[in-house]
Amino acid sequence: MSVPLSYIWRNLAARRLTTLLTAGGMALVVFVFATVLMLEEGLRVTLVETGSPGNVVVTRRSAGTEVQSIIDREQAAIVESQPEIALGEHGLQLASKETVVLISLAKRGSDKASNVLIRGVGSHGLELRPQVSLLSGRMFRPGSTEIIAGKSVAERYQGTGVGETLRFGQREWTVVGIMDAGRTGFDSEIWGDADQLMQAFRRSVYSSVIVKLVDPDRFPEFRARLEADPRLTLDIKQESVFYAEQSQLLANFISYLGMILSIIFSIGAIIGAMITMYASVANRATEIGTLRALGFRRANILAAFLVEALMLGAAGGVAGLALASFMQFFTISTMNWQSFSELAFSFTLNGEIAAKSLAFALVMGVAGGFLPAARAARLDIVDSLRAA
């Protein structure tokens, strides 16, 4: 058996202030680490959940995003008429020819303007997105200048509440409803009638066509036929894949920046832990010598001080994670560089992030504790007993 845990634990408790400060330093690093992962995860969840696997997004080849895509009416008609597309009421294909335009709106509170994505949807637009529901007001009427705003748009931009009006495309648009898209990217959009919006912006082409397949498994044949058609130059992607790709650039940036920050901060925390542990070893030289005299081996001493460092790390990890969990109450919005529009998302904590953060904290503990523990184990018994 080895040095009892109670001995290790009570030594940490006895040096309450140092323990608290050291664990606190590690907690801050874990906080940053976890927050970055939560941000990345929030972004991923928001964009990935925006797409449903049964839906297919068709855009112009190489357009990448809907904003940069153009599909003319003839091409849209060909896409719409494929046999793999599910049929809705009245035997009509479940397809929505959509047009996407960016407009600039002033934020509430400040007059700073930001890009908001306006989506003109077809009659099946809502049916294709079961995750979107009306929070208040009603759906816009087809053929009218009525629009509905996503929840996070309504919260953050002027003139987007129910009954308010917005002026764009040389027309007055009345907001008649607020939609809740379940934290997906549609929360950051304004929806209206596709044909009305195309007229207002003097457009003759669509941006994308969204269709629902009878069976998601038939996607490969659907794509193969469209890609083989010489009249079409289109990208055909499952909606979930399409939106996941949209988040890549931003997610990678957040993740690289976050990791670099975490690594730099963690070096500070590791040095802090090392100083604490070296002090702990120096203060307890006599105790270490005594334990060794009593018959504890070098390995027991090494293990005891490593466990002490691990406990420090674990305390920091739990505290940092607890702190980070409060971030779930915050929503942030930022420019998605791929669609050029504002995207609102929240910090999302899951089991994997919690596990990674705790592991990170333990690694910091070991990194900080190893050298001091090795010194403790190497101490000469006679010398350390004389240190009294």
């Binding site: 009892p4 006895a14 005594t290 334990l291 009593l294 504890f296």
Partner: protein, 230 residues
């Protein structure tokens, strides 16, 4: 083991020196002597005479430069670091001048510490520790921390810790050096009891002639050499 022909500690031509900068400073030169089982021996001598070094060598926490050192039939000079640790756990009980208790552990836990290196079950450990603490007269202090005990009481906890594993020899380095006369007398009486009643071989380093009088024999060390007189 009871046979007088087989001493518990057998020292032959033992030498030990320390390196001080470039120089080697001899501490013990060519020491040979035996300690019989059940002895209570006091090692005396001025500071720097090598008496503590000799004690450390016998206790297996320091290694000799030359000569042989057999304790309870094992030549401990040949043991590896880890073997020596296990050997100490089984064979030696330590008593220090400043008690060297773990400040964050209770009296009970301090005494139990050496038993954690044995295969004894929890219940057995508990029974042994309770017995040891009552033998040193501290049955009512088991949950006290060292800071809540007087010096004499702390030393008695340390003595309980020293004999809890039933070691062959007890080594005591100035066990009364930090105590007032009354407490010192208590400790010496306790050591005499351990020697007389449990038959423990005790090797005690001391400055104090009064303390040395408790021992059966006194050996003087002077400049690394043992006196000739008994």
């Amino acid at each position: 083991m009871e046979s007088p022909a087989e001493p518990i500690v057998r020292i032959r031509n033992l030498t030990k020196s320390y390196r001080r900068g470039e120089q080697r400073v001899p501490v013990l030169t060519n020491i040979s002597f035996d300690i019989a089982a059940g002895e209570f021996i006091a090692l005396m001598g001025p500071s720097g005479s090598g008496k503590s070094t000799l004690l450390n060598l016998i206790a297996g926490i320091d290694k000799p430069d030359g000569g042989s050192l057999t304790v309870n039939g094992t030549d401990i000079a040949t043991l590896s670091e880890a073997e020596l640790a296990d050997w100490r756990a089984a064979n030696v009980g330590f008593i220090f001048q400043f008690y060297n208790l773990m400040p964050v552990l209770t009296a009970f836990e301090n005494v139990e510490l050496p038993l954690l290196l044995t295969s004894l079950a929890r219940g057995e450990r508990q029974a042994r520790v309770d017995l040891a603490l009552s033998m040193v007269g501290l049955a009512d202090r088991t949950t006290h921390y060292p800071s809540e005990l007087s010096g004499g009481q702390q030393q008695r906890v340390a003595i309980a810790r020293a004999f809890i594993t039933d070691p062959v020899i007890l080594v005591a380095d100035e066990p009364t050096g930090d105590l007032d006369r009354a407490s010192a007398n208590d400790i010496l009486a306790l050591l005499e009891r351990l020697n007389a009643e449990l038959g423990k071989t005790i090797i005690m380093v001391t400055h104090d002639p009064h303390a040395a009088r408790s021992a059966h024999a006194i050996r003087h060390l002077e400049k690394g050499e043992l006196d000739v007189a008994p």
